[in-house]
């Protein structure tokens, strides 16, 4: 900030320019100085750690620049399989959550913005979406575990023992079912605004022109909701991909998915000196999530263009 800013570059909130370079600089400070604490804080606690991860991914154990971490990750079947499983888990739970959550959101939105059911559903979704991994894992253990409520119920009434193949809850199947659980409330929260955007007039216009329920959803409602729905699926995908706590609480042996492997690398359970491999894995996660979120942002912009 040594040279004065030319008049054409003055920030809009600054007002008309009069006086020389000194007053322009004062105005610049006056406008942007109050924002410094925020930027400083975020730089220290968000940008710096990210930077450390990014740089560390390209450093060997002694600190010298190297690609060996990347190499380890890309050549190791363990790691690649973990990415594959993470993607599969995230995709399946995102789709299942999006469909079930979407239907629930529709059912709730029908009553109008002031509906009783809707208020309860929104509040409940707000809580359940934050239903942290550990609590959720225990909830499912209490439900489907060896001594779980449903397990006992089924055993006593129908004779079917859910826990016979007791490992299922702790494997990929169980994880998928549990992940779907917390995707549903998130979907409700994210998708309700999109449903609100469907105007009553469109339905009535379609009907008065001779359309049935099916033709409305096929030609009007569906296409309008499609970008938002797809965007929601992407968001749910990113959400599942980044999740750590639930899996950490459920899976006791091995680290089948990427977040668990990062955790493993961090707690040094595996060979020391692999800490930077953790950073390479983290880099991989950032890339996947960043790509997904960019697509999401683009879809959002597309969706809002129509509905101006």
């Amino acid at each position: 900030m040594t040279a004065s800013t030319p008049a054409s570059e003055q920030p809009p909130g600054a007002g008309p320019a009069h006086g020389g370079a000194g007053s322009q600089r004062r105005r610049w400070t006056g406008t942007y100085l109050p924002l410094v604490p925020f930027f400083a804080y975020v730089s220290l606690f968000l940008l710096l750690p990210t930077f450390i991860v990014l740089v560390g991914a390209f450093q060997s154990a002694d600190g010298s620049p190297s690609l060996e971490n990347i190499g380890t990750v890309l050549s190791g079947p363990r790691f690649l399989q973990a990415f594959g499983r993470s993607v599969q888990l995230s995709l399946v739970s995102a789709l299942a959550g999006a469909i079930l959550g979407g239907l629930l959101a529709w059912a709730v939105s029908v009553g109008g913005p002031g509906g009783r059911l809707r208020q309860i559903a929104v509040a409940a979704s707000g809580v359940l979406a934050q239903f942290g991994g550990v609590m959720l894992a225990f909830a499912f253990l209490a439900t489907f575990g060896i001594t779980g409520t449903v397990t006992i119920l089924l055993k006593n009434s129908v004779g079917f023992d859910l826990a016979a193949d007791s490992r299922w809850l702790y494997g990929m199947t169980g994880l998928t079912i549990v992940y779907t659980y917390f995707q549903i409330p998130l979907m409700v929260i994210v998708f309700l605004p999109a449903l609100d955007g469907l105007r009553q007039e469109w339905w009535e216009a379609s009907t008065s022109l001779g359309g049935s329920s099916w033709s409305y959803w096929r030609h009007v409602g569906g296409p309008i909701l499609a970008p938002s729905f797809l965007g929601a699926v992407l968001l749910l995908f990113a959400n599942a991909f980044s999740a750590y706590a639930t899996a950490a609480a459920l899976v006791s042996q091995g680290s089948p998915i990427v977040p668990l492997q990062i955790g493993e690398a961090m707690s040094g359970e595996v060979v020391l000196g692999q800490a930077n491999v953790g950073k390479a894995l983290a880099l991989g996660m950032i890339i996947v999530v960043a790509v997904v979120m960019t697509l999401y942002a683009l879809l959002q912009r597309r969706a809002s263009r129509w509905l101006r």
Binding site: R199, S208, L209, V220, I224, W306
Partner: protein, 363 residues
């Protein structure tokens, strides 16, 4: 059901007849429709006029099938359609705003109803273009609704409604969301198109200027019932109830005493119109253009303010009892009526409607 004489004058135009008989619709204690009877002749445009909550939109929606009445019958082209669902009624509807499908171009919007009827692509496109031409927006066919202005959107909505050659055209306050200038242009265009196509039309509005300008007949509604339905001039000159007299056009309420079929206002005895209160203290409803002002030294009334409205001037006059009266004059005459001028006030009219002193609106 036979048609009343006033209505069969439109026999010459194409289109079908519409009858609403004894429609009732209530939401809890509120009666949106309280025994509505309405007939529309083939090819006629009836404007339903009234304040918010009077039931006009409910009536339109009942006709469209978007709202089921609790009692009554709806007959279109001789057929009772009260039980027929909305998507089988073959009606075209234009909403107040936002009814175009945002994910389709203007042309696709217009062709939507045709596509539902199984028309093939080529024929659809031709008919859609024909309709776009009718509303003067052929060049905008490939645009999306968000790229069109409010007035353009409503014209496309009209094209869409007419594309399917509906039996009845329903317009639910289509101009209310537009700004004044566009409103007036579009109003004339809608009327022109309606006359050329000849479809029986029901037009709902709360703007009395619009209703009077557009309708072959205008029906004034209040609290779920039809107060009066007549040609615009008759409605204006011979209101049948106080509500109609006060709602349609501006009016003054002047104190007087009714006696023997007439009332004395500003020194002139004027005959009372049908339905007026016939004796005792009353409010006479006087139109501003019926008030004559003459500057006179020492007169009891004084000019308060003058508003210039283009072709006419509105003059506010204060009477001795602090009552206010609005008069209408030409700009030339208004030049002599600056604020503070003492004036003599007279009324010049063929007949006057009067209500009981202390009561307003509903008889």
């Amino acid at each position: 059901m036979s048609l009343s004489p006033a209505v069969s004058a439109h026999e010459g135009r194409s289109g079908v007849s519409v009858q609403l008989a004894g429609l009732h619709r209530h939401y809890g204690p509120v009666h949106a429709l309280d025994g509505l009877d309405l007939e529309i002749a083939p090819g006629e445009l009836v404007a339903l006029l009234g304040p918010s909550g009077c039931g006009k939109t409910t009536a339109l929606r009942a006709l469209a099938g978007l709202d089921t009445p609790d009692a009554g019958r709806i007959v279109v082209d001789g057929r009772d359609i009260t039980e027929v669902p909305a998507n089988h009624r073959d009606m075209g509807m234009v909403f107040q705003a936002y009814s175009l499908f945002p994910n389709m171009t203007a042309r696709d919007n217009v062709a939507y109803g045709l596509r539902l009827r199984g028309m093939d692509g080529q024929a659809r496109r031709r008919r859609a273009d024909e309709m776009l031409e009718l509303v003067g927006l052929l060049a905008q066919g490939t645009r999306y609704p968000y790229q069109l202005s409010g007035g353009q959107q409503q014209r496309i909505a009209l094209a869409r409604a007419l594309a399917i050659e509906p039996k009845v055209l329903l317009l639910d306050e289509p101009l209310s969301a537009l700004d004044a200038k566009v409103r007036r242009q579009l109003r004339d265009e809608i009327r022109r198109i309606q006359i050329s196509v000849g479809t029986t039309t029901l037009f709902v509005t709360h703007d009395q200027e619009e209703a009077l300008a557009l309708g072959d007949r205008v029906g004034v509604m209040s609290s779920g019932r039809l107060e009066q339905i007549a040609a615009p001039t008759e409605l204006y000159e011979r209101p049948r109830t106080a509500f109609v007299a006060e709602f349609v056009g501006l009016t003054n309420k002047i104190r007087g005493v009714a006696q023997g079929g007439a009332v004395e206002v500003f020194g002139t005895r004027l005959p009372l119109l049908d339905g007026s209160a016939t004796s005792g203290p009353v409010f006479a409803l006087v139109r501003p253009e019926a008030v004559r002002l003459t500057p006179e030294e020492g007169a009891a009334a004084r000019v308060l303010a003058v508003s210039f409205l283009g072709s006419v001037c509105r003059v506010q006059v204060e009477l001795p009892g602090r009552e206010l009266v609005g008069a209408q004059t030409s700009p030339e005459d208004a030049m002599q009526l600056s604020p503070g001028t003492a004036v003599r006030v007279e009324v010049q009219a063929a007949g006057i409607f009067a209500v009981e002193d202390g009561g307003t609106a509903r008889p």
